[in-house]
């Protein structure tokens, strides 16, 4: 990620995806702006006292259209994970996970089932106590965080049959009510319930019993409950599992809108590469209990597609190497080993292939080897 200038007093380097009238109140003076290769505009600017105050606490107080990432200076990431380990009995589920999530980012934790995604997100949500490692979420350890911290986070849970006799409107009023003491002039809490219902497309069903909602409608209610307190950071665990394509598309639009208009930092898990591609600014691939790749989807595919995978057997051992120029590599290989080279295979990798291989290997019980290979080819 691009490194910014050191944060001096009320100055910071921001990565903004939009600047408009609302933003200017926070960003008082744009020193220079330039197009970055990521497709974002990267701006160096002065911040108003209000925004920089937010910055010192670790989060940029994103108001209105400002959704940005403070790249330089004292701004801490919203989520910071170092050497996170989790062990159930004698089974290691997480073997040293490291990553950061910056304010305003949408980050996707991608990985095969059983890779440890849910464990990771539950530790960050404060629902599960880790075995070892350092975790900081919004400046606190989620394992010991207080109720004020809770008020700044949102969790989208997978509901099942809870509150069957309630209506969406009543439930949102009830659960949203807990956030009222945490309302500030900058961030009114909870959301206006009518507008929230409209956002998630449940206006017509607002007064129906929840028991009568379909699976997809219920999930939209889950999202509404997750964001009713206007969280600075939102967690979503496999949010679209069991969705039909139509519901999935609507849901993706909803998540993007949250990130764009509210500046909400979002961390979600999925096992679906396509979903990660549609939603995330950045993808963390989790396999065999650790992060094996950390980049934008574009960045990942560029790196993977630039290289070709060459596999061969020589003297009874199987070799695999990813190289930028396959032709030259193979010529050199024959020059050196001659007829010993057997079972030669050259493949131009795609991200999809690489990910599918990872998933297959993982399911076949070769998680560790697959993770190593994926980490290698996506270097």
């Amino acid at each position: 990620m691009r490194q910014g200038l050191p944060f001096e007093d009320e100055r910071a380097v921001l990565q903004l995806d939009r600047i408009d009238a609302d933003a200017v109140r926070v960003v008082t003076d744009v020193i220079d702006g330039e197009d970055a290769s990521t497709g974002y505009a990267s701006w160096r600017c002065h911040l108003s006292r209000e925004a920089s105050g937010g910055c010192r606490r670790g989060i940029l107080g994103c108001r209105g259209a400002v959704s940005g990432t403070c790249l330089g200076g004292v701004m801490e990431p919203v989520v910071r994970v170092r050497d996170l380990r989790m062990r159930y009995g004698d089974q290691d589920v997480l073997t040293g996970v490291d990553f950061d999530v910056a304010a305003g980012e949408v980050v996707c934790l991608l990985g095969p089932n059983g890779a440890g995604k849910t464990t990771t997100i539950e530790i960050l949500e404060g629902f599960r106590i880790r075995s070892a490692g350092e975790v900081s979420v919004l400046g606190q350890d989620p394992g010991q965080a207080d109720e004020d911290w809770r008020a700044r986070t949102g969790v989208v849970l997978q509901s099942w049959r809870d509150h069957p006799r309630w209506t969406p409107r009543k439930l949102l009023h009830q659960l949203g009510g807990y956030f009222a003491p945490y309302s500030t002039p900058e961030r009114r809490r909870p959301h206006d319930i009518d507008r929230l219902l409209e956002t998630v497309g449940l206006t017509d069903l607002a007064d129906r019993k929840i028991a009568t909602l379909s699976g997809g409608q219920r999930r939209r209610l889950d999202v509404a409950v997750g964001i009713v307190g206007r969280p600075e950071l939102l967690f979503l665990d496999e949010p679209t599992a069991g969705f039909d394509p139509q519901a999935r598309r609507q849901f993706h639009g909803l998540v993007r809108a949250l990130a764009d208009t509210e500046g909400t930092t979002i961390l979600l898990t999925t096992h679906d590469l396509d979903e990660a591609e549609k939603l995330a600014d950045r993808v963390l691939v989790l396999a065999a209990g650790r992060i094996v790749a950390d980049d934008t989807v574009d960045g990942l595919s560029r790196r993977l597609e630039g290289e070709a995978q060459v596999r061969w057997t020589a003297a009874g051992t199987r070799h695999s190497e990813s190289v930028p120029d396959a032709t030259a590599f193979v010529r050199a290989l024959f020059a050196e080993h001659g007829d010993e080279v057997q079972d030669l295979e050259v493949r131009r990798a795609s991200l999809e292939d690489a990910y599918l291989t990872l998933v297959q290997q993982h399911e076949a019980g070769h998680g560790e080897a697959a993770a190593r290979l994926f980490a290698e080819v996506s270097q």
Partner: protein
Amino acid sequence: MTSASSPTRNAVRLGLRRGWTEFGQSISSTQDQGFYLFTGAATVGYLFLRRDTEVEGTDLLLPSVALPSILGALIAFGVIIGPAYALAMEKEDGTLLRHKAVPHGLQGYFTGQLLFQSLSLLPQMVVILVPSFLLFGDLMADPSGWLTVAWVIPLGLLATMPIGMVIGALVPSTQKVGTWGMLPVLVLTGISGIFYPIQALWAWVQVVAQVFPMYWIALGMRSAFLPDEAAALEVAGSWRTTETVVVLGIWALAGALVTPRVLRRMARRQTGSQVEAAREASLQWVR
């Protein structure tokens, strides 16, 4: 909209609203109405069939003697089994987790449970008391008995509801409430002098029965409804009011000390994976 009140007070207020809402939903649901009517019909039916039976050693009729005991048993049963099932189920279906995910949500959740489970006694009492007073004469020997009812019921609630909450918190799944909750409570009802005097049982069983609150709630209710002469039927020929207050008070105190800890421990262990596992188990169950 900006509320200056403390988050805890706000949570308690939301919890009370939650309990009230759930109570409203319960009495307007045909399923719950059916349950209340069933217990009402069964109790009143039993008393009606034996309306002319005289109780040995007194000039009282069976309905007069049995009604207060049955009410006592239903109160204890309702506030033990009710919360036990509610907690066990709401651990599994994600209700509890939802409250864990909002600030001070668990305080609100448990406040709501407390109010809802207490209010649920009202329709239970109404469906039994109203027809009983219409059908049988001389149920309340002295109107001052209502004052006794007014302290026996709240104290009985405080003594028994924590037991239900602890059972609900500790059971591994809803299906286990039957074994861990229903069975012991039914056995206890059997030995607590509801349907026949406790003196008819072996001495050690009498001791066991008098350790638990159910016997004392029923005794308190009998002391409220029956004339003083009827105390002759009781252990030591007395209503033992002081002992009733002391035993129920000890249970209430122990409950107040233990329950929050057990509930906190349960809530700490709640995760989405747990809810997911319960959902999968239930799908298996259906299939």
